[in-house]
Symmetry: C2
């Protein structure tokens, strides 16, 4: 086997690049601050996000930033309403942010183009400044993550989160991220956790608040690479039905931040414990460690996902699959 063919080589390399990618994006913060200044002039009354797959989880994070930190209403657009059904709403005063690594997904380009023609101010957040999505939008934010070659997105996800934070909230607290990311990635607890799930068919992830995006993205990463049935639930929704399917045979990964989101999970975690569920915690307080000292809660999702990416990579290898070649999937833009 040549080095080039080694299973998971691309994915683990890109996971490891993240401290450097975050630092590089911070070096470009002035670029994003200029776009931020343009948004401020428009004073949007409402923010719509459009995205698919991993980028949809970055959009979900962005929605929390808008609702909590900007105190404006926000929504995730259902792209089919603009494309399949051809709806043409009045979007004057609305900001639409489309998020896509490749900037090449045709239905996102169509949705953003439709939104722009309906009066929305449009911003594309991509890793590809010359992509169709970047061209279609009035404003563009480059996440500067470098070419992403693994099919399972990792570094582009954390770069999208930081780019959205820089765009919507600014750089407050972000300076610490590259070092904290490196320290978190240096841990080995997530890789050890993989042995626990070697024969699991299904798994639940849960979180609340900003970290809900982390639970969603972790579930997708595990599905893509290890083919297990991983489902994410907000800790609040978990009590409204899905709890029935959890017993001691269905492991739970709970992302428990040290902030208000994690604190609000207490009731759900107690109920889960009552069912005899196997619960692994991800977070600074206990369980799989996230090194996040002095990092504000709203930035934690950029760090929390890191051990979960490592878990997905290791679990795929343990189960004999190649996380660089998920069956049935392809990246929209492939560079080789």
């Amino acid at each position: 086997m040549t080095e080039r063919d080694e299973p998971g080589r691309l994915m683990i390399a890109e996971i490891g690049e993240q401290p450097e990618v975050l630092a590089r994006l911070l070096d470009h913060r002035d670029e994003i601050a200029a776009v931020r200044a343009r948004l401020a002039q428009h004073e949007p009354r409402f923010v719509l996000f459009a995205a698919r797959g991993t980028s949809d989880h970055a959009a979900l994070y962005g929605k929390y930033l808008v609702e909590v930190d900007l105190a404006k209403p926000a929504g995730l657009v259902s792209p089919s309403t603009l494309t399949v059904y051809g709806s043409r709403p009045d979007l004057s005063g609305v900001l639409m942010i489309a998020v896509s690594q490749s900037g090449g997904s045709p239905d996102l380009v169509d949705s953003l183009t439709a939104a722009r023609s309906c009066g929305a101010l449009t911003v594309a957040v991509t890793n590809a400044p010359s992509s169709p999505l970047a061209s279609a939008a009035e404003l563009h934010v480059d996440i500067h993550a470098g070419a992403e070659r693994a099919v399972a997105a990792t570094k582009s996800y954390t770069a999208q989160l930081l780019a959205l934070h820089l765009l919507l909230v600014g750089d407050d607290g972000a300076e610490l991220l590259p070092e904290r990311a490196a320290a978190t990635l240096a841990g080995s607890a997530a890789v050890q956790l993989a042995s626990r799930y070697r024969f699991a068919d299904r798994l639940i992830t849960t979180a609340r608040g900003y970290s809900y995006a982390t639970a969603r993205e972790a579930a997708l990463k595990l599905m893509e690479t290890s083919y297990l049935s991983a489902q994410a639930f907000s800790a609040a929704d978990l009590l409204h039905g899905p709890l029935a399917m959890i017993d001691s045979g269905v492991p739970v990964i709970a992302v428990v931040s040290p902030g208000r989101g994690g604190h609000a999970m207490t009731q759900a975690l107690d109920r889960l414990s009552d069912t005899g569920a196997d619960i692994a915690r991800i977070g600074p307080v206990d369980g799989v460690p996230v090194v996040s000292d002095d990092v504000p809660e709203r930035l934690l999702p950029i760090l929390e996902i890191l051990p979960l990416q490592q878990l997905a990579w290791r679990l795929a290898l343990d189960r004999g699959t190649d996380p660089d070649r998920p069956r049935g999937l392809r990246k929209v833009t492939s560079t080789w």
Copy 2:
């Protein structure tokens, strides 16, 4: 075993009541038209929905009605932003619709109260006119479904869908629903399908457009009653990652409407077929029949869910569980 203890007795009785529930709600259409007239006076610029569990799927349906039929932007609120994080956005000109069977969920009451204090026009859609949620809202829509005693919501769901349609779009095309619902429920294909999934551990549901709510609700119903891991994906999102976990061992239920939503699924269904997946179709065209002649596409979700409720009920019985007593769950308001 007394009749009272017969497993699934409550659930199947309430499934069977739905034609009558829909007819009763239509008899009350003037009540809802009066609320609709109040909304029209306010000309909301944006609609936010708040809900949990099954009601969240009704809210998702409502979001499509707003985006497509009212051509206004809409969003599903993340309740934690208003409650856990205490955000107080400017919601003047915003309509917030909270959907809840019982009207008793404290975090919804808190979200709606916060939204009202932030300037939103608030409407509660409940099955309980004297509930805290109904009292907290400026306007109330009673779904008139009668007491729901089964833990797995069925008749309250279809009544919520129809109530949202009457509130947002009107009664156009709705007259046919009670008869079509009765004809759909008279079929036995869904109950036969249960034997196919007797030993399945996981299952995927998929749809697009209005019917995406059906896929989400069907997955929840199967999780609650049969404890299998059922996941719903928009047919568009399915191609962005989850496809990797589907092979011939993971059955797929595709809700394929005869309208634009179903038509837009062609590419995804072709890709699924390529993986060798076992696909059952729900819809008027082929597969498990939905009797929907002359019913407009935007009302189909009220009919499509019916055979899937029957499937969830039958599968639970086949697997030896009592769908009336899902483990770990309780209804917020229990009447006995």
